[in-house]
């Protein structure tokens, strides 16, 4: 598994995201502010309790993790606060040896007690941790302090994705004394990390600023004096900022469409490098399985059959995506069900006539005059366009939707509470590049993004088996079975496809390497700006 994963990641990086070799040879230059953007106002800043990318971006350079993706070669996971790690022969005990002399941004010393406080918090059954907690809770039994600089994780079983989960940017380490002082990490003043940048300023709806941490534990880093993130909601605003040269990097969600990339190329010419890439993100359409009309499995099945994934990808992503793909073969290799097979499944196959006729029959069986629904959508990125197309497709089978838009954080709050009938579009980025991620995050009972409250014993059983299975081939079979089952069942979340898009980097930005997940590539610890 590891081999194919690394191969896939290498291809992924070579295709779209590798920095030029020439840039790596240059002598880094100190100073300068990197201008970047956040697609939405993050609101609450608790990295362990929240799930939006906007929160992760707001804090990416502030905290350090035990492990992280190597800034020089993001296909590798290396130590961050942990200098080294050992694993027991039964693969159930991981021991992390921590760096010495690390200080929090407020000057307090870092120790193993902070690591324990962080993971005890995340693993607390009563604490909602939709990213880190969702990944680790099924695997980790306990976290113990061995001494001031050694910490030990006891696993419930030998879990293949443990290391990549611990390396996730959502599992970064917070200070025990800060958690005790504030109770949570929601407020700007609680953003005390050990990362390369300090949290300087957060002006709601406007800007987030980091400043260089002069006491960073890696001598000589970071190169930048700071990072400024403008909060720019909506692709037209983001595109206008990019065309005007106000931002230097567009490396993250929402991706540009080809039309927009072309406009940027016309505006900036040789000043920017524009590339196409995948962002480890799946495009989903949610139904609440406990509320009418979608508490009826026939209605969920009708939606699954009616959604034209090929049209959605062709029009709303301008072809940059893999329709119907539950796993991206470019990221996880042959863990993904072959697209040839996927595209023959009901709901995914073309032409759509048979599936639409069947979907219409299912709707008419329960609602002879059709049914009206409220369709929620967060007004960020290209969601409004996607939502309109989804509703246009559903009108063909007698489901008449009215859009209800939400500001980014408000939308997540509504989804988290289950206060919706239908979510017309929502991307979910994977926490790691492990193939089991999507099932653990979206489909398992009680999963962090299982907003439609779906529960299916077979899915839970297969998800757990996949997590525990050490044999790569057997694991592959389990995930193939899961994909076949989910793509044809009356699930809570219909897969529209895997999202790709266009991005850009100002050519003055050097030594920037994108990681396999969009959550992990923005610490900027080794990034520098050319003159």
């Amino acid at each position: 598994m590891r081999k194919s994963l690394i191969l896939s990641l290498t291809v992924f990086l070579l295709v779209g995201l590798s920095a030029s070799g020439a840039a790596a040879q240059e002598k880094p230059r100190y100073g300068g502010i990197l201008n970047w953007y956040d697609y939405a106002d993050p609101g609450r800043l608790d990295i362990h309790a929240e799930s939006p990318l906007s929160v992760q971006q707001a804090l990416a350079g502030i905290y350090s993790g035990l492990l992280h993706y190597d800034p020089d070669d993001p296909t590798k996971i290396i130590g961050d606060l942990a200098e080294s790690r050992t694993v027991s022969p039964d693969s159930k005990t991981y021991t992390f040896h921590l760096r010495k002399g690390v200080k929090w941004h407020d000057g307090q010393p870092f120790s193993a007690a902070d690591v324990k406080a962080t993971f005890d918090r995340v693993l607390n059954p009563n604490f909602q941790s939709p990213r880190c907690g969702s990944m680790l809770k099924p695997m980790v039994a306990s976290v113990e302090v061995v001494d001031a600089h050694t910490v030990q994780f006891q696993l419930k079983f030998p879990a293949a994705p443990f290391i990549s989960a611990v390396a996730s940017a959502w599992c970064r380490v917070a200070a025990k004394h800060i958690l005790e002082k504030y109770g949570d990490l929601t407020k700007p003043e609680a953003q005390i990390g050990t990362g390369p940048f300090k949290f300087k300023r957060y002006e709601r709806g406007s800007v987030i600023e980091w400043e260089k941490n002069k006491d960073y534990f890696i001598p000589g880093l970071p190169y930048l004096d700071g990072v400024k993130q403008f909060i720019l909601t909506g692709v037209p605003t983001q595109l206008a900022a990019a065309k005007a040269g106000r931002i230097m990097l567009w490396d993250t969600w929402p991706p540009m469409k080809k039309t927009q990339a072309d406009e940027l190329r016309n505006a900036r010419g040789d000043e920017v490098r524009i590339y196409q890439a995948s962002i480890n993100t799946i495009f989903l359409i949610y139904m609440h399985t406990q509320k009418p009309p979608f508490n009826n499995p026939d209605m969920r099945r009708a939606v699954n059959l009616a959604i034209d994934r090929q049209e959605l990808v062709a029009k709303t992503l301008e072809g940059a995506g893999l329709p119907c793909a539950m796993l991206d073969p470019r990221l996880v290799g042959d863990f993904a069900l072959p697209l040839l097979e996927v595209n023959k499944l009901p709901g995914c196959r073309q032409p759509k006539d048979l599936d639409i006729a069947e979907a219409k029959r299912l709707v008419e069986k329960h609602y002879p005059n059709g049914v009206d629904i409220e369709a929620a959508v967060r007004s960020v990125g290209g969601y409004i366009d996607r939502a309109q197309l989804v509703l246009a497709q559903l009108r063909k089978i007698g489901i008449r939707g009215t859009l209800k838009t939400y500001e980014s954080a408000a939308g997540f709050s509504v989804y988290g509470k289950g206060d919706f009938t239908f979510i017309s579009t929502q991307d979910r980025a994977m926490v790691t590049a492990d193939p089991g991620d999507v099932f653990a995050l979206v489909y398992a009972t009680g999963a962090g993004s299982n907003w439609g409250k779906w529960s299916d014993p077979k899915v839970d059983e297969l998800t757990e088996r996949g997590l525990k299975e050490p044999n790569v081939e057997k694991r592959k079979q389990i995930y193939h079975e899961l994909q076949r089952y989910l793509l044809t069942q009356d699930t809570t979340a219909v897969v529209a496809g895997w999202v790709e898009g266009w991005f850009f980097q100002d050519k003055r930005v050097r030594n920037y390497q994108a990681s396999p997940t969009i959550y992990d590539h923005s610490t900027f610890m080794k990034v520098w700006l050319a003159q």
Partner: protein, 306 residues
């Protein structure tokens, strides 16, 4: 529309400068001809507004395709098949502009009808009774008018949520104080006129005086306010939709179409050109007509009745 023109002509006729009354359809044509001769720009405005109303009423017949049907190729430039091109989802822009006329006119007329009528009643009644209630109500008007209108509308929409009815409500709230202030000043002068004095001396009740003597004489001002503010309401609705807080995004609103067009201004400029043109033409027509009616009914303006 013809009724409003007739009304204006009727007022002119009472003043002795309008053409003699001629019965039936011929009379309407005669009056329109007189109006066009007197106010040629107003007549052009009237024609534009008539075209808008016809487009709104006959949208299902005029639109070649469904406004929400994303059935075609994206970003097709204007052609014989799609005279205004297609948008980012492959919808026919012409059909959306046609259906957008219905939405714009509906929002414009209904919000102005509510807002101006409410404001008129408020202004006339408080002007008539005067005293503390009048003073206090005018301070309320001051407060509302001190708030920037678009900011107020945005705040209301953010609080109420996106829907066409909420847009109407927000616009009505914006328009009420203006109407109250304007109609109050008209009513203040009317209440001092001899015929109101006479009605009072004859023992008419306050409400009878208000509704039989004061209110009908504010009608000219009311009509001008009504016409001019429809244009204002349409522009504010478009602005709210442009900012993502107007009609729901899938409704074919001209402002919403402009927002969608900004995503691909260079690739598909027709996406912003045609809805922009529709807004400009509509506002132009309504303003020309409103100005003409004002000129006809205001004795102080040249070309009017004075």
């Amino acid at each position: 529309m013809a009724n409003r023109v007739e009304l204006a002509v009727g007022m002119a006729r009472e003043a002795g400068i309008a053409p003699a009354r001629v019965g039936g359809a011929q009379g309407v044509l005669h009056a329109l001809g007189w109006f066009a001769g007197r106010q040629p720009l107003g007549a052009i405005g009237g024609l534009i507004v008539l075209a808008l109303i016809a487009t709104a009423i006959f949208a299902p017949q005029l639109a070649p395709h469904g406004a929400k049907d994303a059935a075609f190729t994206q970003y097709l430039p204007p052609s014989a098949e799609f005279p205004m091109g297609t948008d980012q989802l492959g919808r026919d822009v012409l059909s959306r502009v046609v259906w957008g006329a219905r939405l714009s006119l509906y929002v414009g007329v209904v919000s102005v009808a509510f807002g101006i009528t409410l404001g008129a009643l408020w202004g006339i009644v408080t002007a008539y009774f005067g005293g503390v209630a009048d003073g206090a109500s005018q301070r309320v008007v001051d407060v509302v008018m001190a708030l920037p209108p678009v900011v107020l509308a945005l705040s209301l929409m953010a609080a109420l949520g996106q829907s066409v009815n909420n847009v109407i409500f927000a616009l009505a709230i914006l328009l009420t104080p203006t109407a109250a202030r304007t109609l109050r000043s008209v009513a203040l002068s009317i209440k001092e006129t001899p015929y109101v004095e006479a009605a009072r001396a004859a023992g008419c009740s306050h409400w009878r005086i208000i509704f039989r003597h004061v209110l009908p004489n504010t009608l000219a001002t009311y009509i001008v306010l009504f016409t001019v503010n429809i244009a204002y309401a349409i522009v504010v609705e478009a602005a709210l939709s442009f900012l993502g807080l107007g009609a729901p995004p899938d409704e074919p609103s001209w402002g919403g179409m402009l927002t969608a067009g900004t995503q691909a201004m260079e690739t598909a400029p027709w996406m912003i050109f045609f809805p922009g043109l529709a807004i400009s033409l509509t506002v132009f027509g309504l303003n020309l007509l409103g100005d003409a009616i004002r000129d006809l009914t205001d004795p102080r303006l040249r070309g009017g009745l004075g």
